[in-house]
Structure formats: C-alpha cells, structure tokens
C-alpha cells in the first residue's frame, strides 16, 4: 500500500435539516483511499453511502470536517472549481446510464471533452479509443435508444474514461442489468482498474458485485461499519 493517498475523509459530517428534524447522513466519517484502489461501498438505504459517494465525486461538500481529493481541500472549493476537478480527474457512471437521448454514442462520449475545450478532430479520436476500450467498435453512431442496457452502460463508461480520469465514481453501475450483463460490466471495470490503474469507487447493493472490488466499505447510520480488504477476507 505504497500508492499515494487519493481521498481522505477527516471527521466528515453531512447534515440536513434544522433543529429537531436535523438528520446526519454522515456522522464524523474517517476514511482514506489510495490511488489505484477498487473500492465497493455498501450499506442499506439511508446509511450515508450515496452522500459519501457524492462527496467523493466532488458533487457535494461536507457540512463539517475535511474532504481532501488528491491533496486538495475539495470540500471548501466553490462549485465551479469542483466542476473543474470533476472534469479533469473524475469520471461518473450511473445506475440509469444517464446518456443524452437522441445523441449518438460517439457524441455522448465526446461530451466531457467539449467542456475541456478539446478540438473536434481530437475529440473524435479520443472518443473512438474510449469506445474501443469498452468493446463498442461499430456502435459509434447508434443513439441510446438503439442500444441495449449493457451497451448503454458501456457507452457511459467510455464517457467516464475518455478524459483519462484518476477516479471513476460508479453509482450502482449494474443495478439495471441482468446477471450476464452485470458480470460483463464488472469485468470491464476490473480490467480498467488493473490495466489503466484507474481508481474506482463503486456503490452497490449486491455482494457478488462488491466481490469484484479489492476493498469493501460498509456504511451504517452515517458511520463506517466495516472496511475489509479482499486479501484479508481470503486469509
């Protein structure tokens, strides 16, 4: 575990509401994730796992405590700076794919590059490479409606990795897929983790999906309930 720290939570609180109705989604969470790790986050609804994921993905900020992303105090950045962090270092994969409708696979994959100001020709090349990496050569010009769920999720993964991010945040990436498709997607993620050294933080409900990850963190009532490495489990 000599890889540099990617993410640290230092007594992170996230609270909603006021007074009596105040709810703590995260109640003083401490956590560290290193570069190149593949982490599964599990826990029942309301355990705070989604909140943690939003903070990790720089979509949200803690109410109290410190969240550092690549050594930057990301919890104190304004939304435009966090947008920049996301654009440069984070890729997102969602349960519902979240592709733009009536937009071709290639155009969907190019989208993050547009916001980086990459020139059209280079965008096209990078998008093709990303689509090739997820095994979708020949489907560039299909719109989401013309693709199966598994294929749509591959497009979404291609969109997430086209910017060569440091971290991939996946929110139940296989939640809408059948078992066969689930394993294909998980193998793809595992390969990206191994081959590109892409750090992955994945929220999931399913234990067999979590098994693909090298480390599983369970949330319960806003706390980290358990944090286990796969090697420890095996031992």
């Amino acid at each position: 575990m000599s890889a540099p720290l990617l993410i640290t939570f230092d007594k992170v609180w996230k609270s909603y509401g006021e007074g009596e109705a105040r709810v703590h989604a995260l109640a003083g969470v401490d956590l560290a994730i290193r570069r190149g790790e593949f982490v599964a986050i599990m826990g029942p609804s309301g355990s705070g796992k989604s909140t943690a994921m939003n903070i990790i993905g720089c979509l949200d900020t803690p109410t109290a405590g410190t969240y550092s992303f690549m050594g930057v105090d990301a919890g104190r950045l304004d939304r435009n700076r966090r947008a920049l962090l996301r654009n440069l270092y984070v890729g997102f994969v969602f349960q519902g794919y979240n592709l733009l409708p009536r937009t071709t696979a290639a155009e969907n994959v190019e989208l993050p590059l547009i916001y980086r100001g990459v020139a059209a020709r280079e965008r096209r090349d990078l998008a093709m490479q990303a689509l090739a990496a997820v095994g979708l050569v020949g489907r560039e010009h299909h719109t989401p409606a013309e693709l199966s769920g598994g294929q749509q999720q591959r497009v979404a993964i291609a969109r997430a990795i086209v910017t060569r991010p440091t971290l991939l945040v996946a929110d139940e990436p296989t939640g809408n897929l059948d078992t066969a498709r689930t394993h294909e997607i998980m193998e793809l993620l595992t390969r990206l983790n191994a081959e590109l050294g892409l750090s992955i933080v994945m929220v999931t409900h399913e234990a067999d999906v979590a098994d693909y990850a090298g480390r599983t963190i369970r949330f319960l009532d806003g706390h980290v309930a358990s944090d286990t490495l796969k090697t420890e489990e095996a031992a």
């Binding site: 920049l84 440069l88 979240n98 733009l100 916001y115 100001g117």
Partner: protein, 405 residues
C-alpha cells in the same frame, strides 16, 4: 465551442419543431409587423414627397379669400375679392426671387371631340405656367405670349384626354370643343399620374387665360397665382414679399387682414411628410409591443426547456460542465430561436410591405437600417429573455438535477 453550442441548440430546436415554431411565432409576428409598418410608412412618405413635388417644388400659391384662421372674426372685411390681372402684373413687375409667376383659373368642363366627350379640368393660364408647375411637354409647343394676350383658341392636353380622344394617335393640330368654343391642340403634356388623393392630374386641358376667361368662365377672375421661387430664394423669404406687393396693389392697410391667402407648398410638403413619419413611428411602436410579447413567449418556452432538461443539465454538470457552459448553452439556444424568428419575420414583413406597396401604388422602400435593427433587436430579445431561464439552469445543483425524472 460556440459552434458546438449553436449546433446543439439547432438540434434541440429541431427536436421540438412544433413547439419551437409556436415560440417563434411571437417574434415572427412582431418583427414582421415592425418591418411591414416601417417599410410601408417610408414608402408612403416617399409617395407624399413625390406627390407634392408634382405640384411644383418651391411653389407659393395665392388664392382669393381670407386665410383660414381658427374661427377668426370675419368682421367688416369685404367678401373675398377675386384676384385680378393687375395683381399678376404687379407681382411680375416688383417681385424679386421668383423664377416664374403664372395666373390660373380652373373649371370642370365637358370637352368634346367628334362623338366622344369627357369632363376635364380646363385651366386658363399663360406661358409661364409650365415652368411654375415644373411641367414639361412630350411634344408640340407651349402657348406664345401673343397667344396668351390675344386669347387665341389653342390648347395643350394631358395624357388622359389624349387617350380618350385619339387612342395611340397623334393629337396635334386636331380641333376639340371646350364648352362653346373650339381650340386647336398644339402640344401634349407629360403624364403626372394620380395625386395621393386619387385625382387624375392628366385629365386636363390648358388654354390661354384670356380665351378661358372669355369663352369658358365668362368673367375676368383669376383663381390662383402660382409663384415658383428661384434656386437661391427659399419660399419662406418670398412669401412676405408677395404679401407686401399684393397688399399694396389691393390697398389693404397693414392693420387689416389680407383678403388673399398664400399657401407655401414646401411647408405643406414638410407638414405632410412629418405627419406620415410620426404615423409610421407610432405604428412601429405598436408593432414593437408585439415583439415584447414575443420575447416573453421565448422566456416561457426556455423555462419549460430548462425544466424538461434538468436531468441533461445534471449530467453535463456532473461530467465537468462549468456554470457558464450551461448558461451559454441556453442563452445561445434562446438567441438562435429568436434570430430565426427575426429572419422569418423580416421575410414576411418585406413580402407584406411589397404587396401593400403594389396595392396602394406607393414605392417599395425597404431600409437596410431597419432590417439590421430588426435582426439585432430579435437577437437581443433572445438574450434578454433567455438569460433568466438560462441562469436558472446553470444554477441547478447537479445532485438534485441528476435525481430529477
């Protein structure tokens, strides 16, 4: 990046063709109305100017009778004394700064040639008339001074009279009957067309004043004296001199109102031009209100669009779109939408103005400045009314936006 955004907005406009079209309609109608109003208006102004210049430019017209005042006291003043030949003689002798001075009397009279007849405006005048009215002959010659003095039975006819009696033929040397007298045609007047009030200016017969007075009118009165200013003299300077001379010959002391009226055609032209310009401006402003309504339509539809695409905005924000990217995207979309409406509106407005010009026989006068203004204004409307919805989209929280169904 901007091109990307424009392409993106065109696509989203295409995706909702009907809705986009209905949104555009407001701008289309607004711009079309403004363009049509202003174009027809400036055509009308040109028409009015042209009509007035047909009367003769820099022209004063003297008439017998008191100037029409706002219910001024008639008092003990004598009933209008007609103008007389001595008034003309005095003006010719003493007035400086005039290019042409000509007396004229008119009457609608039945004119007969062979078995054809026509009621025509018969004018008795002298050889300076054509000069004073800026009127030219297509063929033939004007009356000579001796013909004017002697009252010889010669005449000049207008185009309408020629067509009625001679068709395409040459009227020169033919004899027509005017009232109880006959006269020989010695020339054909240049066509002038209709006045703005629908009066045919070519249905005329000109004859020497004395011939008219003796054989048509049966008196020695003069209805009008036309005085054309020379190029160096403005009519406003000429008018008081005319008044002085006429007061003198007609023996009207300065403390009394004159028994004649001097009309300055230049002033009338200016007044009418400014009236039409004001009218045009007002109509344009009314049309401008509909543009505003169109802008509100754009704002409305952009708000709908932002709400509808909340999830899309969430995706874009999550993958690293800056607030300003979202803002620009929706601003460009609104601007493209309203520009599109502006361009369609301009085309429709110009067509409307063109058709109206044809129907009213006024000049079609599209103004590049007005068109540019309309383009700029519709783009501005897009930006102004698109800004609030765009800002609303840009300020969305990505987490909420992603959850939005």
């Amino acid at each position: 990046m901007i091109w990307e955004t424009v392409r993106l907005s065109l696509r989203s406009i295409r995706r909702n063709v009907l809705r986009s079209f209905l949104t555009l309609l407001g701008i289309v109608i607004g711009v079309a109305a403004v363009i049509a109003m202003l174009t027809i208006g400036s055509g009308t102004t040109e028409k009015v100017k042209a009509d007035i210049s047909k009367l003769g430019s820099n022209l004063l017209v003297v008439r017998a009778g008191r100037p029409a005042g706002p219910g001024g006291p008639g008092g003990l003043d004598q009933a209008a004394r007609p103008l007389a030949e001595k008034d003309v003689t005095a003006l010719v002798a003493h007035l400086s700064g005039a290019r042409a001075i000509s007396p004229a009397s008119q009457k609608q009279v039945r004119v007969i040639f062979g078995t054809e007849s026509l009621t025509s405006g018969v004018t008795g005048t002298d050889s300076a008339y054509l000069d004073a009215r800026d009127w030219k002959l297509v063929s033939g010659r004007p009356f000579s001074d001796s013909e004017t003095r002697a009252g010889t039975g010669v005449c000049l006819i207008g185009e309408t009279v020629r067509q009625q009696f001679f068709g395409a033929g040459d009227p020169e040397g033919e004899i027509i009957r005017v009232n109880r007298t006959s006269c020989k045609i010695i020339g054909l007047l240049e066509p002038k067309g209709y006045t703005g009030f629908g009066q045919d200016q070519d249905n005329v017969v000109l004859m020497p004043l004395h011939a008219y007075q003796r054989r048509v009118a049966g008196n020695r009165d003069i209805d009008n004296i036309y005085i054309a200013a020379d190029d160096r003299t403005p009519t406003s300077e000429l008018q008081p001199r005319v008044e002085d001379i006429l007061r003198d010959t007609r023996r009207i002391t300065p403390d009394r109102d004159p028994d004649f009226a001097i009309r300055d055609m230049t002033q009338i032209a200016d007044a009418m031009t400014s009236a039409t310009t004001t009218m045009t401006g007002m109509l344009g402003a009314v049309a401008g209100v509909s543009l505003l309504v169109g802008g509100i339509g754009i704002m409305n539809i952009m708000l709908v669009s932002v709400t509808e695409r909340t999830r899309e905005i969430g995706i874009r924000l999550a993958i690293g779109a800056h607030e300003k990217h979202i803002l620009i995207q929706f601003l460009v979309e609104a601007t493209v939408l309203s520009l599109l409406g502006g361009i369609i509106g301009i085309l429709i407005g110009l067509s409307l103005a063109g058709l109206t010009s044809m129907a009213l026989t006024i000049p079609f006068a599209p103004s590049p400045a007005v068109i540019l203004l309309a383009v700029g204004f519709s783009a501005l409307i897009g930006m102004v009314f698109g800004f609030f919805p765009a800002l609303r989209g840009a300020r969305l929280d990505p987490i909420d936006a992603l959850r939005h169904e």
